[in-house]
């Protein structure tokens, strides 16, 4: 067979070679696209590290767990911004993941066909709103609502509970970790819901129909058929939302209260890494101050990386436990 090919179809071999060259070139092109992302990421992280080296060399490891943030005495530490970033993002995920899941199930399994497109477009529209708009909505409409209705209720009903009561005792200001978490949730829901809806609709109908034919309820179909089939893509969508929540700046700045104080209560104001940088960058008048802010930016990289790695490891463990 091979002999015949080389002997008789010489022009085809040449074509084959040209194809191979084109293929090689194509591979190189897409490879460099991927490498470009890596270089951009590494470059950003490295320049942050270099910009923050004055802060790291002055404060050492203490920078990570020091509560200080005193521009006058030039004492800086990252604990409070890191804590605020993690808590607000965690709260956002607690609210956003179940709601996005519900939206996606409704749109793919339950909603009548004519309803799907309008709701899906509304969600996409929500994703396109700039964060400053969420910030203004949060500050002028949502924070007063929280201060007048939600915070007092939490204080009086949950504030006296043992242990977790400390989370819900605080001033009824409407500003703070909880408000920031809810605003963040509203911001990331469109991203997570859009991904979930997209991947849920890729589940082959025969799979779902078989389950329905065996007498499964909609919930059983979603939980036992749709979700296992799409798990890694769903997790990807959640990561996308989490990444956005960790780095969100403007909206958080408006409703978080911007206070460098560590408080147990979710009703107390706090600070996040991105909000601190956005607030204080313009007037950072000493080089150590500026360097500390850039070092915070580097830590945001590190925090995001660690959180996403932990999430991936958890996913892998889950997959192993289920035996796939």
């Amino acid at each position: 067979m091979l002999d015949v090919k080389t002997a008789v179809m010489d022009p085809l071999v040449r074509l084959d070679r040209r194809d191979r060259r084109a293929d090689k070139f194509f591979r190189l092109a897409v490879q460099s696209c991927a490498i470009f992302v890596l270089i951009a990421l590494l470059g950003a992280a490295l320049s942050m590290l270099i910009g923050g080296r004055e802060a790291f060399s002055t404060f050492g490891w203490k920078f990570l767990w020091s509560k200080d943030w005193d521009p006058v005495q030039k004492q800086f530490g990252a604990l409070i911004p890191i804590y605020g970033t993690l808590v607000t993002s965690l709260l956002a995920m607690i609210f956003a993941v179940p709601i996005s899941f519900g939206i996606a199930i409704f749109l793919t399994e339950i909603a009548p066909r004519w309803m799907r497109l309008p709701i899906a477009s509304a969600i996409d529209l929500l994703a396109g709103i700039p964060s400053i708009i969420y910030g203004m909505w949060g500050l002028f409409i949502f924070a007063p609502f929280m201060g007048a209705h939600v915070d007092p209720w939490l204080n009086s009903h949950w504030g006296s509970l043992p242990v977790i009561g400390a989370l819900f005792r605080g001033p009824n200001m409407g500003l703070g970790m909880l408000t920031a978490g809810v605003v963040l949730a509203v911001m990331v829901i469109p991203f997570i819901a859009a991904v979930m809806r997209e991947v849920f609709s890729t589940v082959p109908s025969p799979l779902k129909e078989s389950a329905y034919a065996l007498g499964s309820t909609t919930w059983e179909v979603v939980w036992n058929v749709v979700l296992p089939y799409t798990r890694s893509a769903v997790t990807g969508g959640i990561f996308l939302g989490l990444g956005r929540a960790l780095g969100e700046t403007m909206a958080v700045t408006f409703v978080l209260g911007n206070t460098h104080r560590l408080a147990a209560s979710l009703l107390e104001p706090g600070n996040s890494i991105a909000a601190t940088i956005a607030n204080e960058f313009t007037e950072a008048d000493s080089s150590l101050y500026l360097s500390s802010l850039i070092a915070l930016g580097f830590l945001l990289f590190v925090v995001t990386f660690i959180v996403l790695t932990i999430a991936r490891l958890m996913l892998r463990r889950m997959a192993r436990l289920e035996g796939n």
Binding site: V72, T259, P269, A275, T282, E283, A284, D285
Partner: protein, 339 residues
Amino acid sequence: MLVPIKVRVLALCLAAMVFVSMSLATDITGAGATFVYPVLSKWAADYAAKTGDKINYQSIGSGGGIAQIKAATVDFGASDKPLKPEELSAAGLAQFPVVIGGVVPVVHVPGIEAGKMKLTGTLIADIFLGKITKWNDSTIVSLNPDLKLPDKLITVVHRSDGSGTTFNWSNYLSKVSDEWKTKVGEGTSINWPTGVGGKGNEGVSAYVNQLEYSFGYVELAYAIQNKMAYCQVKNSAGNFIMPSLESFQKAAASADWTKEPDFYQIITNAPGADSWPIAASTFVLMYKTPKNAASTKAALAFFKYALENGQDQAKTLQYVSLPSSLVKEIEDYWTKQIH
């Protein structure tokens, strides 16, 4: 076919006009304090209409303004915090004030209207230190026997971003309270002992308007625009003063501008019977021997126009223009220092 040609000719004429006016006019660039931005852009618009010289001012904050002028990327920088004469001479810079404003304490207590509450500097410091926490504290009650003060916690509202407003506020509190000076100090950003932070004057205004029993500080224009309850403050002469353009002007006039070189003067806690204690000024920084002499000369011409003819524009925007004696001193300083 006729229409497009006409349009093209018109466009060509327009382009030629723009080119001609561009080649005649100078572009002056500046960067710095956000506080002066409204009045500076008003002056710039009027000046451009009159002379054709355009002023391109980026309100990136005082810290940014100082950095930009030190890097010589702009013709002038603006800062709410004056630089020390040593720092100026090291960088080869000249400095002069351009406009006066004032920071006012604002409260949100139901039933208390603008101008009714009386405060002293040490009292404000104690509240912002978190030592006085309730509105019915005996110190506040003794100063305001006529007001109904509730048994409620005070929510302190401060700026979350670095700002000249904070610099003047903390500078005043450092002058009147030793405890504030040692524990907190002064700066464009400081380590606040208590309270929540709003971004910008508008952020603080929004928080104070929304949070009952709150206490913040903003520039007068914001207090008036947002109908906030500003307070009287006792000045260094012992009188309770209402914040107004007049009392800001008194503070600027009573300050001794020639005591230090380069107009290094922070006019908080100014002497004088009618001076507002938390008045503030914005300074412009320029090179004494600039690389681009032409645009620096154009910038000086602009500031001469603004200082001599810009009083009305300043007043409508709640700024105070400099007293004429000071304008004279500044112009003398220019001829001596900037070449």
